[in-house]
Assembly symmetry: C2
Homo-oligomer: 159 residues x 2
DNA sequence: TCTACATTTTCTAGTCACTAGAGGATCAAG
DNA sequence: CTTGATCCTCTAGTGACTAGAAAATGTAGA
């Protein structure tokens, strides 16, 4: 049985996040020592790794929940799992496509900079004027996802 | 001078979001009618369109703020603007790359399903075991960004 | 054994960029 | 004059964490 810090190191999930997952019911509340510290079994660690991996792959917590439920009932057909993954794959493909359109426009914008003053800066013009877009990029709802920013230090982002 | 609803329709930014931008200092507080309703000038509408477009392109509000500051001081060199856009382009390219790795792995996972029971489901196995990854996909910090979910109806997502 | 430091506990509140809803005032059209 | 659209302010909620406080506990070295 491992302490939470060890589990965190082993799974790459931060300590508060592990507690958060417990609170959200993604993992069971683990047994405790006499003094109240959490103790994790190898099984719990595997479950956490599963969650981590699924999250890395872009599954939302709700998706992860479904996946975990499915794997808890080993007589369900694999088709459900497959469907979740497949849906997700479609989303990923769509996202790649949108990002590529975005990249095209950004490239166009960046390369239009001639090193002058902002008064005649093409980037600002291009941003001010949606009409000039080469590619019809994402409509309101499907615009570019923003990253999370750490308060100090550098940005990290998941995509 | 236009009412907020008209501006919303014209820029594609929702009314509460316009007010939010005002509160965040991205746009000046507009003049009001006697009864307190906001009235926007053509200039304000252009500024909002600028914000909208930059947001669509994935710039964070802080980036947008810098861009706006820059465009407000027309004697600054264009280089600052270019740098922001260029940095952003780098991020977009990195994101595309990560998404492609992700797609490879998802494809592998999906295609491994043979229609059996979850007990022998490869998807779950694949998710449980990070080691089996074909491509070394994103490390903790740069995992896949999750989408925003509308409360009812379907997921929308910006990326 | 003492001390120092690391680790853990619970709790609350903050992040980003909005979005939703309540409850009320004001406006334009019929 | 009434109806319904639009607007106002305010608070609270979203997802998936992350940060910090204050206190208890564990462990390693002197």
């Amino acid at each position: 049985m491992l302490a939470i810090g060890t589990v965190a190191r082993r799974t790459g999930i931060k300590i508060p996040t592990i507690r958060f997952y417990e609170q959200e019911g993604l993992i069971e509340a683990p047994p405790r020592t006499e003094s109240g510290r959490r103790l994790y079994s190898a099984h719990a660690v595997r479950r956490l790794s599963f969650i981590r991996h699924a999250r890395d792959l872009g599954f939302e917590l709700d998706d992860v929940r479904s996946l975990l439920d499915l794997s808890d009932q080993p007589d369900r057909t694999c088709a459900d799992v497959d469907q979740i993954a497949r849906l997700h794959l479609d989303e990923v493909e769509a996202r790649i496509e949108r990002l590529r359109a975005l990249k095209r426009e950004l490239t166009r914008i960046v390369s239009s900079c001639a090193g002058g003053k902002t008064a005649e800066c093409r980037i600002i013009e291009a941003l001010a004027d949606h009409e000039h877009c080469a590619a019809p990029h994402p409509t309101p709802a499907k615009a570019v996802k923003k990253r999370r920013k750490s308060p100090k230090s550098s940005k990290k982002h998941r995509m």
